[in-house]
Point group: C2
Chain length 542, copies 2
Amino acid sequence: MKISGNLIDLFNREIYAADIVISNGIIDEVKRSGKVYRNYILPGFVDAHVHIESSMVVPSSFAEVAVKHGTVAVVADPHEIGNVLGLAGVEYMIDNGNSVPFKFFFGAPSCVPATALESSGSTIDVRDIEKLLSRKDIKFLGEVMNYPGVIREDEIVKKKIDIARKLGKKIDGHAPGLIGEKLIKYVKSGISTDHECSDLEEARFKLKHGMKVLIREGSAARNLSKLHPLLKESPENVMLCCDDIHPEMLVEGHINIMAGSLINQGYDLFDVLRAATVNPVEHYGLEVGLLREGEPADFIIVDEPGRLKTVETWINGEKVFGDGKLFFAAGKAARVNKFNSSSITVDSIRVINRTGRINVIDVYDGELYTTHFKKRWSEGQFVNSSLNDDILKIVVKERYRDMPPAIAFVRGFGLKKGAFASSVAHDSHNIVAVGTDDDNIVTVINRVVQMKGGLAVTDGMVIKEIPLPIAGIMSDVPCGTIAEKYLHLSDMVKYMGSQLKAPFMTLSFMALLVIPEIKLGDRGLFDGNKFEFIDLFDGIVE
Amino acid sequence: MKISGNLIDLFNREIYAADIVISNGIIDEVKRSGKVYRNYILPGFVDAHVHIESSMVVPSSFAEVAVKHGTVAVVADPHEIGNVLGLAGVEYMIDNGNSVPFKFFFGAPSCVPATALESSGSTIDVRDIEKLLSRKDIKFLGEVMNYPGVIREDEIVKKKIDIARKLGKKIDGHAPGLIGEKLIKYVKSGISTDHECSDLEEARFKLKHGMKVLIREGSAARNLSKLHPLLKESPENVMLCCDDIHPEMLVEGHINIMAGSLINQGYDLFDVLRAATVNPVEHYGLEVGLLREGEPADFIIVDEPGRLKTVETWINGEKVFGDGKLFFAAGKAARVNKFNSSSITVDSIRVINRTGRINVIDVYDGELYTTHFKKRWSEGQFVNSSLNDDILKIVVKERYRDMPPAIAFVRGFGLKKGAFASSVAHDSHNIVAVGTDDDNIVTVINRVVQMKGGLAVTDGMVIKEIPLPIAGIMSDVPCGTIAEKYLHLSDMVKYMGSQLKAPFMTLSFMALLVIPEIKLGDRGLFDGNKFEFIDLFDGIVE
């Protein structure tokens, strides 16, 4: 088979008309042809760090969309499903990914559970890490989020890192804001990447001390507008990633959007495309071809280098996408789950008025952190949501051992009626709900329970939902459908009064205890500054 | 190749374990096997009358969903696209349908345009009909909606019917409520089917006089609950169809739902399945196999006869769907269109207060007919929407020759803010919009103009839309995505105050002049009782 076009040669940094001869999925020969072609051929894009689970679809459905955007491979850390199902969850992702012609490279999640402060569904222990990293198809130890543990040389963290080093696997980092001596110690432990830089100086420091920096542009965090100068300063040490990409963003584009934006900003075409292809392939040692003889025939055809509109995507010498048509289909995904929550009643989320002021969580649109304020409740036997102050009840219901719900109050959601709930709740994925009254909160939580995972909204009249039957965090329907459903439910929350841009995303971070200042876990209200659980009432008499 | 299962033999009316041997897409042999199988094999379902365009997706995308429900063939009348693009539109549907392994049998639309009272994009004349019906793959003359024309023996109608008779093609009817001598004359002209019966006595009369009755269960009309006794009274003369099926209904089910419901009501399994398969194949002479030796291997495998949950769908000996997986994909649909409307300004839809009362359209949820009432406007230089009375401005903007908008008022939409518009507007598919104020009406109409067809809603803050770039009535994205978008936009209209169950459907019938009592066409307000255009003001002084 012969493919012709203007080849963008990322190694010799030139573009020339070429014929590419492919046999048995491998590139046999790349010949200069001297002809004139319309389209351009270049290596396919690689997302250097993604949690597939955030797209709310399984890997095979993720691939259906990704190839349309010219992505041929992803470096994926399955730590969300790991928190629900442990090793079995990781193996589920690998098997599901193997059912389609797309290159998934999964890692071994290093921090499951993320903390001992909340109830997760499973643990990935040192033995599991060893089992995973011993596999040829597992390329790296997933982001070591427990950077204090690395610096303190915690035994378990050290063991996991040592296994990766011994087996010659890369170790991914996660160290937001970390610089100075601590960062140097973190790097010396063997950790070689970071995708959490939100500041240019921070990124420069990390690069200087030998880290690769993954520039991130996803649904939860967008760092490209600050970090783009790295493409000029240190192009060989930069990769592109999305980290978390929600379905409605994925259907619009992927790494192609980032690369296109950088090229249009005037960065060197070859530098940008290398960051989006060669750099992750070489860093992680991925079996992805880069258009050289003897390599797998993985490449894409685009209409012009500046637009990066994918005309065709080829993986292992097979056209998987071309002229708007997909040449494979995701099969039926098996429904694996761990969901043992019963329905709850209104009695179980009632809050009796006690002595002192209430510790309230203050949320900010688009931010993971919260602040803490106190509010005196003068009247009544029970404390309820107060619409005038926008102080609403928030409930976290444990879903693995069916523990009773934890209850607190939150300001900033803006609901004027109804309630909404989700079993996508980082990192343990228990059920979290916010609402204007107990009846509606119970309604949405019980709908999530009934679905064994998913999103639900009610305005008091109708109820809308997205079932997420796979681990309570992923759907088995196509990404386009989930994207539309997700926008629909988000809009419903907005019609109910919320001004938040992505209310379900904000909700999903309410139980993420490690980000200060105050969060609600399944075991109660947590003060992230003091790093301890606190009572809902401060007990102070006026 | 050999397929085994419990064969539901619709000709010998028995179920037995069988091996079916297939070669080159044809059934070579059906052998009784004496073994025990879990699944059942039966002919695939045939929708006996459908306008694919109502699903808002092209035929190839329709097929992707239909095979999941066990449908292998449809008898389709492309008269919606005919009104926009004429013969070229019909040919577009045929070509697009041929791009996927599914059996589309298109007819020649007999009534394009539906009336001379409105501006359609194209005409399908006698010569076009002859050209179409001469094709081997065109099986029938599409529903002859102009039944008064048949009874009056209008020359053009007669010519079209005569061509069909001469060429030995079936002629479809459309005669809601027609019985007695007129119906007898209608049948004698050669028309052999009717899918418009909403009353059991009417259906019995039609059957008695030799018509086949197609029981309809679709988005716009649902007749199964009244007509089901026909399955016992005259099973050999009954077929099943949906007529109009919107995307959100199609993704849930198709003919399988109707057949399953009849079987569960206790009707004879073989009678029901024959109505859903054998009867349309035999009536229209379709090249669809019915599980007999020598026929194309078209069949489905279901888990149990009473549930009709499709496990596999086979067409011409190829598995096109199995275990939740689709084995083909709709390609990129070409964007054919006829859309010559410019943007409009607020000035163009202003209504100056004149002498007399205003003729207002009263709409009813789920009904095609409207009633007529008059309202005196006492004050002001201009007449605007009146939210307290729920009297809203309605605008129809011609889209083929860019004629100025027609304006009237309507009660029953219930909007408290914003506006919504659509270029799906039976039968000519001009743009129709309803809103609470001129600015928002202009906004949504201009959004539809900009998209060259589609649906748009604004609540005054944000705009949401569904582009329908193919003839202004169909999308080129998958049906599941369109279904979700459609539900989303419908909900937005409801959040804006409308109590209508399907506000876009109600809107799409506002310009359907032939259904009384009063409608708004692109040329003005039309009194369906008097069958004449009327002024917006009645001119009567108090």
